[in-house]
């Protein structure tokens, strides 16, 4: 789908090339992650693909068409682009920001409106709430959502994403990553994704291209990269705790069915029964759900002593955080550390309770994989 051949860029006045003789092929529907330390030429490579920078050597092909012979305006209108600095237009509303490419393509107004509303919902921004706001009124995470929405609104088959989730805290980043993977599963776009974070690379990618000082060091699947790093640079990059890194590669839903744990109790369960269940539980807590299987909270032994009541609904405390079943095991680990518990409740997209993952489960996986 995208093919780079001997791609080279020497900036005016520099004698060392920013990108040197880069050969890379990205298959249709794949996410290829460019990873490497700051200044290794990731952004430069990306900007050559949509010709913000003209290469000083080499070739770029998209669907076997020579990109350097194409009209750059037409080329860019058909490639979704998320710039590293987000680059939202401060004088335009969120709606106007996202409608940029459709407006440049002169789509009819009602079609633009429909697409913008759709894509806003897709990235988790309620159109009614955010449409008429200006970027200055948004949090970092919301701005990055807008940046992604703006890039994908016209359904480009290729997207270039330069550290799209760079400027947010780790928890928000994990959430954005999971949402994006969920979207990508359906859309199947061909994506070149830049990051300097190897964990993000492992999690997001079908293939990883490791760069160093403008050159490609290794291009492999994340699993191969972890098991067979090409040289010392790559093995330093992936780090020593490679088996823990594998937690990025496994989704919670993949191990949830193998976990054998007592089911949650309904909120109208009688106190006697709650006590019995607590005694049986290896966690000394039980999860409480409502009639629709929605997560209500958790009851521990101390809750029974401290409070009075008749049914589980009178005792439970809310949980401070949960994970969704499409998150990775590493996300589950982060949340456990964040909330300071040895377990975390798993819910699906509709907040319905799916099960519980414990530190022990994660240890078992690490042990099996290494």
């Amino acid at each position: 789908m995208i093919k780079l051949e001997g791609l080279t860029k020497v900036f005016k006045g520099h004698n060392i090339p920013a990108v040197k003789d880069l050969n890379l092929e990205v298959n249709e529907g794949d996410v290829c992650v460019l990873v490497g330390p700051s200044g290794c030429g990731k952004t430069t490579t990306m900007k050559m693909i949509n010709r913000l920078y003209e290469p000083t050597g080499g070739k770029i092909y998209i669907r076997d068409e020579d990109v350097l012979q194409m009209d750059p305006i037409k080329l860019r209108l058909d490639i979704g682009y998320v710039i590293q600095e987000i680059g939202l237009f401060p004088h335009m509303t969120i709606y106007e920001n996202i409608a940029t490419v459709p407006n440049e393509k002169q789509w009819p107004k009602d079609q633009v409106k429909e697409k913008v509303d759709n894509v806003m919902s897709l990235v988790g921004l309620d159109p009614d709430v955010f449409k008429n706001r200006y970027p200055s009124a948004l949090s970092g995470g919301q701005r990055q959502r807008v940046g992604v929405a703006r890039a994908m609104v016209s359904d480009p088959s290729i997207m270039l994403m330069d550290e799209p989730f760079g400027a947010v805290d780790p928890i928000t980043r994990a959430r954005l990553q999971n949402e994006f993977l969920r979207i990508q599963e359906r859309m199947d776009k061909t994506i070149v994704f830049v990051t300097h974070d190897i964990d993000e690379a492992i999690k997001m990618s079908d293939t990883i291209a490791v760069m160093k000082e403008g050159q490609l060091v290794q291009h492999a699947t994340p699993s191969d990269l972890l098991s067979a790093p090409a040289d010392e640079f790559v093995s330093n990059l992936v780090g020593r705790n490679r088996s823990i890194k594998r937690l990025h590669l496994i989704r919670i839903s993949e191990i949830l069915e193998d976990v054998d744990r007592a089911p949650a109790i309904k909120d109208d369960t009688k106190e006697e029964e709650v006590k019995k269940r607590l005694d049986e539980s290896d966690l000394r807590t039980v999860i409480v759900v409502d009639r629709d299987n929605k997560l209500k909270g958790v009851v521990g032994v101390n809750d029974l002593k401290r409070k009075t009541g008749e049914v589980a609904g009178d005792y439970y405390q809310e949980v401070s955080d949960t994970v969704t079943d499409d998150a990775t095991l590493n996300d589950a680990l982060s949340v456990m550390l964040e909330i300071g518990e040895g377990y975390v409740a798993v819910v699906n997209e509709d907040e319905k309770y799916q099960g519980t993952i414990t530190l022990g489960d994660l240890l078992n996986v690490v042990r099996e994989e290494s």
């Binding site: 860019r76 680059g87 004088h91 335009m92 490419v101 440049e104």
Partner: protein, 240 residues
């Protein structure tokens, strides 16, 4: 609604009212025959008309040339010249307006047109500088995002650069107007007319009342125009 009326009609009327009150009082209560002869409604309206003429013609010219020049200098091919111009303009701004008028008098002679031309040149400076600085100050990543999404250079200019620079361009316009109203009182020295007539006449016959009338009208004109443009900008720019 009530607030809008107050902002757009209430405050301006108060300012005009203050000026009118001073004018009406002075014309109807002249302390002596010299003031009575020199300070008439007819004369006051004439100098106001002349002053507005000087202001309007020079400002329209200066805005067109200043904005167009600022845009041109901000283009990549002229950018270096733009930076040099910015410095020159800042130096040019320190030349006193009286000196500018004197210079033009020696080159072009007397009259309304010479005064307009001098005011025009003098007012270009802040507009040109602010247009250039406003566009130059647009974050590079914003422009690159626009280009990366397939906007043509002219679209980037009209849809991104100019709107973002707009508040700074307007600030330049306001500076220019305030300077222009003040400098235009000097036009009388080269036969350009305007409110300076009253001030110079008042000075020559030693009658403070005539001077005060010229000065107050000029000051209130400057304050009012600056105020109205500022309010208009607030209405247009909702994003900052």
């Amino acid at each position: 609604m009530l607030r809008t009326l107050w902002v757009w009609i209430g405050i301006p009327l108060i300012m005009i009212g203050i000026a009118s009150a001073i004018v009406i009082y002075s014309v109807n209560n002249p302390p002596d025959t010299i003031v009575a002869r020199m300070l008439t409604y007819e004369r006051i309206f004439r100098v106001i008309r002349e002053h507005m003429g000087l202001l309007l013609v020079s400002m329209i010219g200066a805005t067109i040339v200043g904005v167009a020049g600022g845009i041109m200098l901000s283009r990549p091919s002229l950018y270096r010249i733009g930076r040099v111009m910015e410095t020159l303009v800042n130096i040019g701004q320190t030349v006193p307006s009286l000196a500018v008028l004197a210079l033009f008098y020696t080159i072009l002679g007397l009259g309304f047109r010479v005064a307009v031309f001098a005011l025009f040149l003098y007012s270009i400076l802040p507009i040109l500088r602010n247009t250039f600085a406003g566009i130059d100050g647009v974050e590079h990543s914003i422009i690159e995002a626009a280009r990366g999404m397939g906007m043509r250079p002219l679209r980037v200019l009209t849809k991104i650069e100019l709107p973002i620079a707009f508040p700074i361009i307007v600030a330049g316009l306001r500076t220019a107007i305030v300077i222009n109203v003040g400098a235009a009182t000097l036009a009388t020295f080269i036969g350009g007319g305007g409110l300076g007539d009253l001030i110079v006449t008042g000075l020559s016959v030693h009658r403070d009342m005539i001077i005060v009338n010229g000065a107050v009208i000029a000051a209130i004109t400057a304050i009012l125009l600056d105020y109205l443009i500022g309010k208009a900008e607030e209405r247009v720019v909702r994003w900052s």
